[in-house]
């Protein structure tokens, strides 16, 4: 009965979130497998793979971290700083979730946002716009996403020895393909054209000139600044 208070009452929207997320989780698992294989080649142990996927739970930042994963002389600070920059977008994502967490005690909201990732955030926002969504939906889809990511990266690491060369099967491209699709899903209109082009060009030039992950930082910062400049100038022109 819904009127009976219970400690283990799980709202229906938790299960709805899990169910609706399954198709997306399959695609996450596909590039999770790839990341696990690549992590093994970079010298990560199965325990390290599990801990990173379970605790960081950020695919993009984990792919980027692999590029600098050199056991014995890990550039700890550089990897942590790059992780922060790649994941900075999550600040905006959890900020936009605030209206859905308003009615909850802060500690519950703080626990819930640990499961926020690109895909389940996007799905929850989409559902919320239709009058559904909510924190239980976020946590259900996030849990589904976490299971897919942690499980698939671990399987990829353990099965990595069977796949001699993931690039031969084009599997290394799964990451690029997924992020192309995520990027396209973010398209809101012509205002995105300038920042995306500036970001892409700046990143390509930086990647040619400087080794490491600087291309993401330089491209991301220059692209978003360009977008803001165009937008605020246009706003002023509209007012004038």
């Amino acid at each position: 009965m819904s009127s009976r208070p219970s400690l283990i009452a799980i709202p229906d929207s938790f299960f709805l979130g899990m169910r609706m997320f399954v198709p997306v989780a399959l695609s996450i698992a596909a590039y999770g497998l790839v990341w696990g294989v690549l992590a093994g080649q970079a010298g990560m142990s199965a325990l390290e793979v599990f801990l990173m996927s379970a605790l960081v739970f950020g695919g993009a930042s984990q792919f980027v971290a692999l590029e600098s994963w050199t056991p014995g002389q890990l550039p700890i600070l550089a990897i942590v700083v790059t992780t922060a920059i790649v994941n900075l977008r999550m600040l905006l994502m959890t900020a936009t979730l605030r209206p859905q967490t308003m009615h909850l005690p802060m500690w519950k909201s703080l626990a819930a946002v640990s499961l926020v990732a690109d895909e389940n955030w996007a799905m929850t926002m989409g559902e919320y716009a239709k009058g559904r969504g909510g924190v239980a939906f976020l946590v259900g889809s996030g849990f589904c996403s976490w299971l897919a990511w942690t499980g698939s990266t671990l399987i990829g690491r353990l099965a990595g020895a069977l796949v001699d060369d993931p690039a031969r099967y084009g599997l290394d491209f799964a990451f690029t393909a997924t992020f192309i699709v995520l990027l396209l899903g973010m398209w809101k209109g012509k205002g995105d054209l300038v920042p995306w082009l500036v970001a892409a060009l700046a990143a390509i030039v930086t990647a040619k000139l400087v080794p490491g992950n600087w291309s993401i930082i330089v491209g991301g910062l220059l692209g978003s600044l360009a977008g803001a400049i165009v937008e605020t100038r246009k706003g002023r022109a509209d007012v004038a």
Binding site: L92, T176, A203
Partner: protein, 100 residues
């Protein structure tokens, strides 16, 4: 598991959680209009574009075809999984044909 790996992973986890919690805690104080708000709105897309562009531009013809296939299939079907499989499959076929 080495100490450096543990420290790196815990560091990555700590900054990432701080960012997740930070958005929630700062939500009421972040500017909603003006330059900073516009800059923050454009940050996620720009980071993703900067992530993808060098991978496509730095690759060969296989990556270019793969990117085009992913883009085309997504625009036609709006299906993440189909677009991803199409992209990976075309890269695989290109490399099998020795065009990578």
């Amino acid at each position: 598991m080495s100490l450096e790996a543990l420290v790196t992973i815990l560091g990555m986890a700590a900054v990432t959680y701080a960012i997740r919690a930070g958005g929630l805690l700062l939500a009421d104080r972040l500017p909603r209009t003006g330059f900073v708000a516009a800059w923050m709105r454009h940050l996620p897309g720009a980071v993703l574009a900067a992530l993808v562009a060098p991978a496509v531009a730095g690759g060969g013809i296989a990556e270019a075809i793969g990117a085009a296939a992913t883009l085309g299939i997504y625009l036609l079907s709006r299906n993440l999984l189909a677009a991803m499989i199409g992209g990976v499959l075309s890269v695989f076929l290109m490399r099998m044909l020795g065009l990578g």
